[in-house]
């Protein structure tokens, strides 16, 4: 009798653990910090990056991960001799690290742009800006996601 109860308990315990694991297990492979680093490395291998100049405009908490505003502004005079050439934005908790890449020109007058992205879960947004003289700047900010925009 006690043996039966025990094995039933055991069965329930392992059963519920398995169920919990199934719920918790990610249903797709997510990008990690290392993937973002690799993507940046692919673009700017071995180059040093400074902080500053980048202002990320992101919500602290995104209720809906399907539509998260992502704005960026880079401090620059935007003249022919000194302007922001390119900006890359990455996310370290999505299935793929890339979000968006911009190419600016001095004609923009201001290195600023906004779009809307999907975020699968709470994660960091990483931006890299490449100036016309080749110098690089980077910034990182976390966005907390209430309902992920995984769409799985």
């Amino acid at each position: 009798m006690s043996l039966a109860t025990n094995s039933r308990r055991e069965f329930l315990k392992t059963g519920s653990l398995a169920m919990l694991a199934a719920v918790l297990a990610p249903h797709m492979v997510m990008a990690e910090e290392a993937d973002v680093k690799a993507a940046i490395e692919k673009l700017y291998a071995g180059k040093s990056m400074a902080s500053g100049k980048i202002k990320l405009d992101l919500p602290q908490i995104a209720e809906n991960g399907l539509v998260v505003p992502v704005g960026i502004e880079i401090e620059s005079p935007m003249t022919d001799g000194d302007y922001v050439k390119a900006v890359h934005i990455f996310a370290d908790g999505n299935p793929l690290p890339g979000v968006i890449s911009y190419k600016f020109t001095p004609d923009c007058g201001k290195a600023s742009a906004s779009a809307r992205m999907r975020l699968a879960r709470t994660q960091n947004i990483v931006a890299v800006a490449e100036m016309s003289n080749g110098s690089l700047f980077t910034a990182k900010q976390e966005v907390k996601v209430t309902i992920g925009g995984c769409g799985g």
Binding site: M28, L66, V67, V68, M78, A91, N94, P95, L96, G98, V99, I100, S101, Y102, K103, F104, T105, D107, C108, G109, K110, S112, A113, S114, A115, R116, M117, R118, L119, G149, C150, G151, G152
Partner: protein, 111 residues
Amino acid sequence: MSDVKAPVPRVRVPANAKAGELIEIKTLISHVMESGQRRDSGGNVIPRHILNKFTAAFNGKTVFEAEWHPAISANPYQSFFYKAKESGEFVFKWTDDKGAVFEAKSKLTVA
């Protein structure tokens, strides 16, 4: 299926500007932006189909470009700035994974 419909671009550009004035350009285009990460009810991956590139040119010269990844939301919005110099025409182009190009134009008069 929503992606059978042709994407409809919408662009907001001021009609007039002063020389040297910074104007904000806002664009929106209807598109499902299928990420290639989703599965249908049968468990098959729904193939990726997104608009992967947006370009803005003024009087034939490219002034701004955006490369979009599958993380970009459906019906993608894009805004950016332009410093008005002379009167002319903007041409905005969106390119999808199959190479189809969708276009919108707007005129700007600089006083």
